[in-house]
Symmetry: C2
Subunit: 358 residues, 2 copies
């Protein structure tokens, strides 16, 4: 019954912003009569997995039902041991359920079907693929990171109708209204790390925290400042480097002189090199918020999975904008698969995916 | 009953594209019992007015009802004599109806309430203002021209998300898909004249005619080419100057040397001067289609009533764009009253009005 899987998804989403870099996972245990006798989800990084939480929730009086029950799980149970928690496939086998229904296989190289094989070898009936598409959507960050060995990349900017992200002098407060800005905070909360260019940090002195009502119970994403050869001393007086924020603020820098600093993520100066360095640090999703030159870097290399453009009904006619190498014909333009515009007060949100994420 | 006035509006709209520079007008005659005994509308410029058509449509057997009937008319009947057709207020008085209900007063300086005064003096009961707002919308071109002594100005362009109207070399075929282009033809058909810059004409060689299925029964708008000091010889081989189109194609030029040419509308080089010259030629609405520099001229002088921006889900990152003088702060940007985006295939249409037309 897909309604049990839907419930497992609902549970999984409760872990959003708290489980990264892990995927979101939910599990529901259903008795032969069709009663839900257990529910659980992965609540926070380092915490018990969904399957553990689910079995732990079964009442004493229902334990005798477990052997004939079906487990609905949004993700293939893990089977690798080199991590903080014991492999869930062992637990599932130990509990001796009858059947397991899984939305997605886990693309983690140490799982990737091995969890399923282990369960089948133990005589458990396994069905894979129920609500597979919804699972791909829910864990697109984790899945992309596992498959491509780089973080999932969500580019976001706010602009006037004519594509200006700021005035020529760099002022961008505020292009959009409060509804659009709150929505942007929601998108921000979905990613593991926010990335901005160092010029934007020096110009705007942002805190890059979650402040809207809908997001303030969520975990603040990491803050990544992509700097050139700058040293940290220019930044220490800024909000992101205040004592309460400092621990989760990192410099992403090709400056070898500061590469030993624990708050520096060193890379080779190329975009691919930067993404590899972030992946090695288990940063599996990026929300790239600008400025225009950082965004243009990702766009020019066609290196992104998703785009959110907030458009305000204003014209600047001059100012800072995305810059890409000129093409001769319109057919050579970057084209995206955009969904219908979402109206947010006076503004609009256009959300698009790159063709690789269609 | 506003349903009779609604019918009068339906009829009025049947004259769209054919009556300019006149306003659209519809009329419905209703007997004391509430039966429609006459209907008419202004069908084409130079043709009979709506009131005449309406009275002419009354059947012989119903003529005795006219004296007790109510006339619903979308516009105040005319009362001036220096034009092709006799004043309708005389006709209404002669027919001796009981009451007239009017949506809008006619802002034409020779009418402007004088028609109503004449009807009242003749003992006819007059009510003004039913569906007034709808009337203002329907005849916004004519009303704006009468009030401001310049054409109504509708700016239109198609752009990528990042505000590019063409590649750097000027190619703009095609930014948007066929649904958006067909819709643009519909908007084009609503105006009396299409205006383009001479560079666009030389680059694209457009025909600027109505070609979509929905518009091909309509009258082609006039074609206006805003030229600098160019002479016509550079243009004679282009589509707009082919024999079948030539009669309705005009040069709008500040070049005094060609000012005597009947196909040249001469002006003093300023935007206000150009608009006055067009008004004098009874051109009461403009659909300004580009290129970017012509549009920027209107925008920089805040001289427009309506904007339609077709946005394609593409990024060019370089190319031709609207250019306006730089401002320091976002609060100084031009802000518009935009309606919700209309989805047209893969593209979106944002329609806005300047604050003067709110």
């Amino acid at each position: 019954m897909s309604s049990f899987m839907e419930r497992a998804f609902q549970l999984a989403y409760l872990g959003q912003s708290h489980v990264a870099p892990n995927p979101m996972v939910g599990a529901v245990l259903v008795s032969p009569k069709g009663d839900v006798i257990g529910e659980g989800y992965h609540e926070f990084y380092g915490g018990p997995h969904a399957e553990v939480m689910c079995f732990n929730s079964v009442k004493e009086s229902d334990t005798n039902l477990i052997r004939e029950s079906t487990l609905y799980c949004t993700l293939e149970p893990c089977c690798h041991t080199n991590k903080q928690t014991p492999p869930c496939s062992n637990l599932v086998i130990k509990k001796g359920i009858k059947k397991i229904i899984i939305a997605n296989l886990d693309p983690h190289p140490e799982v990737a079907g091995k969890g399923v094989a282990k369960l089948e070898a133990a005589g458990i009936e396994v069905e894979v693929g129920m609500m597979e598409k919804e699972g791909e959507e829910m864990n697109r960050h984790f899945f992309t990171a596992m498959r491509l060995k780089r973080p999932y990349i969500h580019l976001k900017w706010a602009q006037t109708i004519d594509g200006k992200l700021a005035t020529e002098k760099g002022s961008s407060k505020w292009i959009t209204g409060s509804q659009a800005r709150d929505y942007s905070q929601k998108l921000r909360s979905e990613c593991q790390a926010i990335m901005v260019g160092s010029q934007t940090v020096l110009l705007d002195n942002p805190s890059l925290t979650l402040r809207s009502i809908e997001t303030k119970h969520l975990k603040n994403p990491l803050r990544l400042v992509v700097s050139g050869q700058q040293e940290k001393k220019d930044f220490v007086s800024l909000k992101m480097f205040a004592p309460e924020y400092l621990a989760n603020t990192f410099f992403v820098s090709p400056n070898a002189q500061i590469s030993n600093d624990p708050q520096v993520i060193f890379y080779d100066g190329t975009l691919k090199g930067m993404l590899s360095a972030l992946y090695e640090k288990k940063i599996y999703s990026l929300f790239v918020e600008g400025g225009a030159s950082l965004l243009s870097w990702f766009l020019a290399e066609k290196m992104f999975d998703e785009i959110s453009v907030f458009v305000a009904p204003k014209l600047l006619g001059s100012g800072r904008a995305i810059k890409l190498p000129a093409v001769d014909e319109i057919a050579e333009a970057h084209a995206f698969d955009f969904s219908s515009p979402l109206v947010l007060g006076d503004d609009f949100l256009l959300r698009g995916k790159s063709s690789s994420q269609k």
